[in-house]
């Protein structure tokens, strides 16, 4: 923690979720490996602001920085694992897969969860599922676009500027709209992700789903000929 705070936090933030530099708690979910990240720290990113840790920093300290950032991304659980992953997968398929991909299967409206077990801790997963997290992640903010004629289009925001918005609608169509040509473009208050409170998901089913998600560590998309 000491090395991270002294050398990295000024740009990446004390929580590693980005200030001047990018959010580095999501790198594992995006598919970066420990080995690759070690090399990034060791060499820096040439021709950018990201410096090398320097020749004076021993390898063990580089690994300590990475280990610490990993705890910021997904702190190790304090309690023993619980729940049945197999049942969790069944519940996931029935309730979640229409919006979330896992290993190349499922819907696209929500974030891909193929590596979520490496990226987020148990508590964070539970909070997300029961709807206790305020707001939506960038790229998944709910929005309603109302054309001059026809039905309102609901979706999630992929990008936006003062004059246009780019969305994925609930039918997974990606499309840009010019604001001045629409009747209305409005941010929705309610997340596109329904809250799975105790009325919809029992404690033991919740444990099972979380156990399943914790086991998701990515997959190899390489085609074997």
């Amino acid at each position: 923690m000491g090395i991270f705070r002294a050398r990295c936090a000024d740009c990446h933030g004390i929580d590693a979720r980005g200030i001047r530099g990018p959010d580095i708690t999501r790198v594992w979910a995006e598919g970066r490996t420990d080995g690759g990240l070690f090399q990034t720290l060791r060499n820096g990113v040439p021709n950018t602001e990201m410096p090398s840790v320097g020749a004076r920093t021993p390898d063990v300290e580089v690994w300590q920085i990475l280990a610490y950032v990993r705890t910021l991304a997904a702190p190790a659980p304090n309690d023993p694992p619980r729940g049945n992953a197999q049942n969790g997968e069944r519940i996931f398929r029935a309730n979640c897969a229409s919006c979330h991909q896992v290993n190349g299967k499922g819907g696209r409206l929500g974030p891909d969860l193929s590596r979520i077990g490496a990226a987020r801790a148990r508590d964070a997963l539970v909070n997300q599922i029961v709807g206790a997290v305020e707001g939506s992640r960038l790229g998944y903010e709910p929005v309603t676009v109302t054309p001059q004629e026809g039905q309102p289009i609901h979706g999630v925001k992929k990008n936006e500027d003062l004059f246009s918005v780019q969305i994925m609608d609930t039918r997974e169509r990606i499309q840009g709209y010019e604001k001045e040509k629409m009747k209305a473009v409005a941010d929705d208050k309610k997340s596109a992700m329904p809250a799975f409170g105790p009325d919809r998901l029992s404690q033991s089913d919740l444990d099972d789903v979380v156990r399943y998600l914790q086991g998701l560590r990515g997959f190899d998309p390489a085609v074997r000929q």
């Binding site: 705070r5 002294a6 050398r7 936090a9 000024d10 933030g13 004390i14 929580d15 979720r17 980005g18 200030i19 001047r20 021709n47 950018t48 602001e49 410096p51 090398s52 320097g54 020749a55 305020e134 707001g135 936006e160 500027d161 003062l162 004059f163």
Partner: protein, 551 residues
């Protein structure tokens, strides 16, 4: 013999051609004179020769061919791609139809303003290791005098380049880059001297402003932004903290030829957030300093943020104007500060005329009659964290504002953002970061960050109008006598607005934001052009020829 005759015929033909061209447009003298620099932006639009267009940093062009009525007919003329990593933060210069532009990575170009084609390219190899530029491998522009261009480098050198070829004329070392020094600002050339400063406030440097002889590269004087033992202000630093107290100078200042004073804003004290080791006001960090251009001696200072703990460098662009305030003619310097306050100071003596927040501030709400900010409680960063507005990047920052002397309005891109600030005790290691803290974004739904282009009356500090952006913009500005203001948003839109009302008139999606860059404008072959650096591109804009002719 035959070859010689052919050559003579060829030269004669060439001379006839040149004669014709001269009739259409008089070529300027080969050497850039001091008078040209003093004259600033001329009504003929033939040049842009200093960072701010003139020594007062108005960035306000007298050109009127492009107007609020026809700006929507602007068309791209060409686009230039840098072909390097990293983005522009530069203000290009123009003379005799040639653009002189610095880019990231110690690269610079001369470019044909008619076509966007490169004439020469200069590149200085970056050191393989040990470079410490905190916030991007950037450069903010050239200075010029005689037949030489002046450019600072990321490894803390000042170079003179031959305007015609880009060949190096002389190379002066400002300081050892391995000790945390870098230089990114556009040099200001004043009375035959090249004025430059150093960055490195996050690396335990001791900041300074230097003057070098434009002919020889010999140093004429040095002003340390942190006074040494025995000098006035030295005791505003406890212990030996002055030796690595920061206070860099990385944005070009202004110059008043009558008073012969240079005005520069200074950077934050170091370590940035943990300040136990540097008790006191920490002069002249976070200040505006007025420096005698001949001797480098300080005439006066005004400290915006005594004992700063939020990394609020006062490295914004000072803008000079002559105003009538309460019936009296006043020579003022206007300054929108990273700390969230707008200031109008008397530039003859540094006395505060007006100081007022132009964004939401929590650390102080007013300036007391003694010129010091009235501090609010609970705004010191610590291990637990304190929420403060503005955030680290500040209410504004190094991106240039403009001033319209006809409407007496000061225009600035402002940010409404707060942050959680932390502090802890740092250890100093030469060449390493030395900040003693960090910050965290505040993302509560009731604290949505946004930005706005604001028009401020420098006599009252009141806001005349604003144009709100979706997110905070870091673009510099350009205004014109026809009542236009050019800006950019963080999403990559180039925007033209009516400078009297803030109404949006025209826009174009460039694919990159004008981070820290400003457009310039000039006349080329009878048509007004607007040149916009954004990301890795320069794009030249003009009205269609027929629209220019029938304006």
């Amino acid at each position: 013999m035959r070859a010689t005759i052919a050559r003579l015929v060829w030269i004669a033909g060439l001379s006839a051609l040149v004669g014709a061209a001269v009739a259409a447009q008089q070529a300027p003298p080969p050497q850039v004179s001091e008078q040209e620099l003093l004259d600033g932006l001329k009504a003929d639009g033939s040049r842009w020769l200093t960072f701010g267009g003139d020594y007062a940093n108005h960035r306000h062009s007298p050109l009127t061919a492009i107007t609020p009525a026809n700006v929507n007919r602007l068309m791209p003329q060409w686009t230039f791609q840098t072909g390097t990593l990293g983005n522009f933060e530069t203000t290009p210069l123009l003379r005799d139809n040639v653009l002189y532009v610095t880019g990231p990575q110690n690269v610079a170009w001369a470019i044909d303003a008619r076509t966007g084609r490169q004439i020469w390219r200069y590149r200085r190899e970056l050191p393989a290791t040990g470079l410490t530029a905190c916030c991007g491998l950037v450069n903010r522009g050239f200075g010029v005098l005689g037949d030489k261009l002046f450019m600072t480098t990321l490894d803390a050198h000042l170079l003179a380049l031959d305007m015609k070829t880009g060949a190096i004329a002389w190379d002066a070392t400002l300081e050892d880059y391995k000790r945390g020094y870098a230089s990114t600002l556009a040099p200001l050339v004043v009375k035959g001297k090249v004025i430059v400063g150093v960055a490195g406030g996050e690396y335990g440097i001791r900041g300074f402003l230097d003057a070098y002889d434009a002919q020889t590269g010999k140093r004429a004087w040095r002003f340390y932004t942190i006074p040494g033992p025995g000098e006035p202000g030295h005791t505003t630093w406890s212990g030996d903290s002055w030796q690595r107290g920061g206070a860099g100078l990385w944005v070009t200042g202004a110059y008043d030829p009558e008073l012969n004073l240079l005005y520069y804003g200074t950077g934050n004290p170091g370590p940035d957030y943990h300040s136990d080791s540097r008790e006191g006001d920490n002069l002249y960090s976070c200040s505006l300093v007025a420096i005698d251009a001949d001797t480098g001696k300080i005439r006066w200072h005004y400290q915006f943020t005594p004992h700063d703990v939020h990394d609020w460098d006062a490295t914004e662009v000072p803008v000079l104007a002559d105003l009538t305030i309460a019936g009296q003619a006043r020579k003022v310097v206007m300054f929108a500060n990273r700390n969230g306050f707008y200031y109008t100071l008397d530039r003859t003596n540094g006395k505060l005329i007006l100081g007022k927040p132009f964004v939401a501030t929590t650390w102080a709400k007013q300036i007391d009659s003694d010129g010091r900010p009235h501090l609010e409680p609970g705004q010191l960063p610590d291990e637990k964290g304190e929420i403060t507005c503005p955030d680290i990047t500040g209410g504004t920052n190094f991106w240039p504002p403009t001033y319209d002397p006809s409407s007496h309005l000061f225009f600035v891109n402002a940010r409404e953002v707060c942050a959680m600030f932390y502090a802890w005790k740092p250890e100093y290691k030469e060449g390493d970061r030395f900040t003693g803290g960090a910050a965290q974004r505040v993302t509560a739904s009731d604290r949505k960050a946004y930005g706005a282009l604001r028009a401020i009356d420098p006599i009252t500090g009141e806001r005349r109008w604003q144009f709100e952006y979706l997110t905070p913009s870091t673009a510099g500005l350009l205004s014109t006598a026809s009542g236009l203001i050019f800006s950019g948003d963080a999403e990559g839109n180039l925007l033209a607005l009516d400078s009297r009302s803030g109404t949006l008139l025209w826009r174009y999606q460039m694919g990159a934001t004008m981070h820290g860059t400003s457009p310039i404008t000039y006349m080329l072959d009878g048509r007004q052009h607007v040149l916009v650096p954004a990301g890795t591109t320069l794009t030249a804009w003009a009205l269609p020829p027929e629209a220019s002719a029938t304006r």
